[in-house]
Symmetry: C2
Subunit: 337 residues, 2 copies
C-alpha cells in the first residue's frame, strides 16, 4: 500500500473538493491509502467512511494568501500542511499532496520533508497541456527565481527520470526556454546551461522559443523560476483574454449568436482543452519524499489527479532513481555542496 498524506484544508474550495478528491482517488486506484489532515468536523461533512481513508486531527490552516510562508511553516505547527508534511518526513506516509499556498508548500518541502542528498535547489514542475495531446513538464515554476546552471542541470536529471518512470516516455526530450533557437542566443545564463546540457547524457534538443509553449518539440521545458513564471503567466493571461475576446465577438450580432449556439459543443470542448483537470498538479523536484502541489482552485477531479501523481512517484521509486542517475552522471563535485 502507498500511503498519501493529504492536506485536506488547503485550497480555494477546501475541505470539500479535497475530501471528494480523496474519495475519487481511492476509487480509481486500489493500492493507495489516504490520511486526511484537518478539522474532522469539517471533513466529515463530505467524507463517506472508507477503509482506506483515515483522518488525523489538526486545527490550524495556512491561509491561501499567506505573505510570510517561512514564518507560517515555522510557527503553525498544528496546521494541516505542516502536520501532513511531518508525517511524510517521519515515515508515517510515503507521499504528500496539497492545494494549499504554493510558496508555503515549497518552503515546507525544504524545511520539513527536506532535500534529497546532493540536490541543491528543489524546483516546482507543473504540466501544461500540449496542442497535439500529452503534457509538457515545465520547470522551474517559481520555486527559485534565480538558479545556477549546475542546479538547473540537476533539475533536468530529475525531470528526465520523472518523465520516464511516471509518464512512461521512453526517451524524454529536454528543451531550454530561450528567446531564439540558435546556439548562442539569450543571456550568459542560457549559454552556460546550453553547454552543460549538451555535454550531459540527457536527450537535449536545444533552445525552444516561448512561442512554441503550447506545442514544444520536447517533453520537458526548463528555465529559471522567474523566466518560467513570466512565460506561464503570459500564457494564462493570453488564453483568458482571448476567451473573453472570442465571447465578445460571438455575442456582437444576431447571426454570430446563432452560430455560437450551433458551435457550442465544439467551443465548450475548446475551453476544456485549455483547462484540463489533470494538468493542474505540479511536483516538487528534489525533495526526499514526493511532494505534489495541486492547483489552488482544483476541483475534486483535479485534486484526485494530484493524489494519484504523488502515489505514482512513490510507487515508481522516482527519487531513488534520480539519486542514482545524479551519482552516475554528474561529476562528484557538482552533486555535493
Amino acid at each position: 500500500m502507498i500511503r498519501v498524506a493529504v492536506d485536506a484544508m488547503g485550497g480555494d474550495f477546501a475541505p470539500q473538493e479535497q475530501v471528494l478528491g480523496a474519495m475519487e482517488a481511492v476509487k480509481k486506484c486500489d493500492d493507495i491509502e489516504i490520511i486526511l489532515f484537518g478539522r474532522p468536523e469539517e471533513i466529515n461533512k463530505y467524507l463517506k467512511p472508507h477503509d482506506r481513508i483515515k483522518i488525523v486531527e489538526t486545527r490550524d490552516v495556512i491561509p491561501m494568501g499567506e505573505h510570510d510562508p517561512v514564518r507560517a511553516i515555522r510557527t503553525m505547527k498544528d496546521s494541516s500542511m505542516v502536520k501532513a508534511m511531518t508525517a511524510v518526513a517521519q515515515g508515517e506516509a510515503d507521499a504528500f499532496c496539497s492545494s494549499g499556498p504554493t510558496q508555503a508548500l515549497v518552503v515546507g518541502a525544504h524545511l520539513i520533508v527536506r532535500r534529497m542528498d546532493g540536490f541543491k535547489r528543489p524546483a516546482l514542475a507543473p504540466f501544461i497541456p500540449s496542442f497535439n495531446g500529452g503534457n509538457t513538464i515545465i520547470l522551474d515554476s517559481g520555486a527559485n527565481l534565480e538558479v545556477k546552471p549546475e542546479q538547473l542541470l540537476q533539475q533536468a536529471y530529475f525531470a528526465h527520470v520523472y518523465a520516464k518512470e511516471v509518464m512512461g516516455i521512453k526517451e524524454p526530450k529536454i528543451g531550454l526556454l530561450n528567446i531564439g533557437t540558435e546556439e548562442g542566443k539569450g543571456r550568459v545564463f542560457e549559454n552556460e546551461c546550453y553547454k552543460l546540457l549538451s555535454e550531459s547524457d540527457l536527450n537535449f534538443v536545444g533552445n525552444v522559443e516561448p512561442k512554441e509553449i503550447l506545442n514544444p518539440p520536447c517533453n520537458i521545458l526548463i528555465s529559471d523560476g522567474f523566466t518560467m513564471n513570466i512565460c506561464v503567466k503570459t500564457l494564462e493571461g493570453t488564453a483568458k483574454t482571448m476567451g473573453a475576446m472570442l465571447k465578445r465577438s460571438l455575442m456582437s450580432s444576431f447571426f454570430s449568436k446563432i452560430g455560437a449556439l450551433f458551435a457550442k459543443k465544439s467551443l465548450d470542448k475548446f475551453k476544456k482543452d485549455m483547462n484540463p483537470d489533470d494538468a493542474s498538479a505540479a511536483m516538487v523536484f528534489g525533495t526526499k519524499y514526493p511532494c505534489v502541489k495541486a492547483h489552488g482552485s482544483s476541483n475534486r477531479i483535479g485534486f484526485s489527479y494530484g493524489i494519484l501523481l504523488a502515489a505514482s512517484v512513490a510507487r515508481e521509486g522516482v527519487i531513488e532513481k534520480v539519486s542514482k542517475a545524479l551519482k552516475d552522471s554528474m561529476p562528484q563535485g557538482e552533486t555535493n555542496e
Copy 2:
C-alpha cells in the same frame, strides 16, 4: 516637410509592400516626403511616380536572417538600411523606417544614427493591442537582454514623453512587468527598478503581472529585453496555437461547421483584433533621430503606419523633449556616463 528615409529592400515582402506602403503614407499625410533606398529597377515595378517620393540607389540588402548584424552594418556600406540611416545621421532626412532584420536595425541605430546625449541603452519599444482598445507600449523588446535599473529608468522617461506627444495620452501610466503585484516581488533587479520608479516623478502604477499583458492597468509596460521577449513571444505563440485549436474544434462536426459559418464575420473580426496592422511598428528609444522598425512581415498598411510613426516622432520633437526631461528629472550623475 518631414523627410522620412525608408529602407525599401528590408522585409519579408520587400520591396513590394514597402513601396506600396510609402505610396499609402504620402496619401494619408500631406507634410511628409519619402526617400526610398534600394534598387531602382525593383522599386519602379511598384512605384507610381509621386512628387513627394524619390529614390536613392543602393545595391546591397542585409538579409532577413542576418546572423552577424554588427559585421553587416559595418561592412555592407551600400545596403539600403545603412544608406538610409546614414542619410538621417547626416541631416538629409528627419526619420528612418525599415522592416529589415531587427538586430541589424538596432546595431545600425547605435553605430550610425547614434545615441542621444546621456542615453545609455537604447531600447526597442513596440505596441501591443489591448483588450479594451488602444495600445500598450512595451519595452525593452529585445535590444538589450540585460540592463541596469538606471538604464531602465531612462527608457521609462523616453516612453513617458513618447506616449504623451505621439499617442496623446495626458498622464501615461507606467507599470513594471513582474511575477506578482506586491512590492518586493521578483528578483533584485525588479526591486531596484521598483524603488527608482517610485522615487521618480513618473506616473508609476507598480508591478504588473504578465497575465494582464493584453489588458494591463498601464499605457507603458517595462522590463529588461530578455524578460519582455519571453513575454511577447509567449503571447504570440499562445494566440496562434489557440487560433489553431479553435479552428480544429469548429471543424470537428457538421453542426459546428454551420455555426462557424454563421459566426464567420465575428470570428474574422476576432482574428483581426489579435493582429492589428497599426500595432506592428516598434520604435527605437534613445537615438539622436527617430528610428522605427516595422514588422518583418508588414503588409503595405502596416508599413505605412511605421512611416507615419517615424514622421510623428520627428514632428512632435519627441527626442528634444526627452532630452530636456532627462536633464530636468534625473540626477546629473545618472544621465552622463
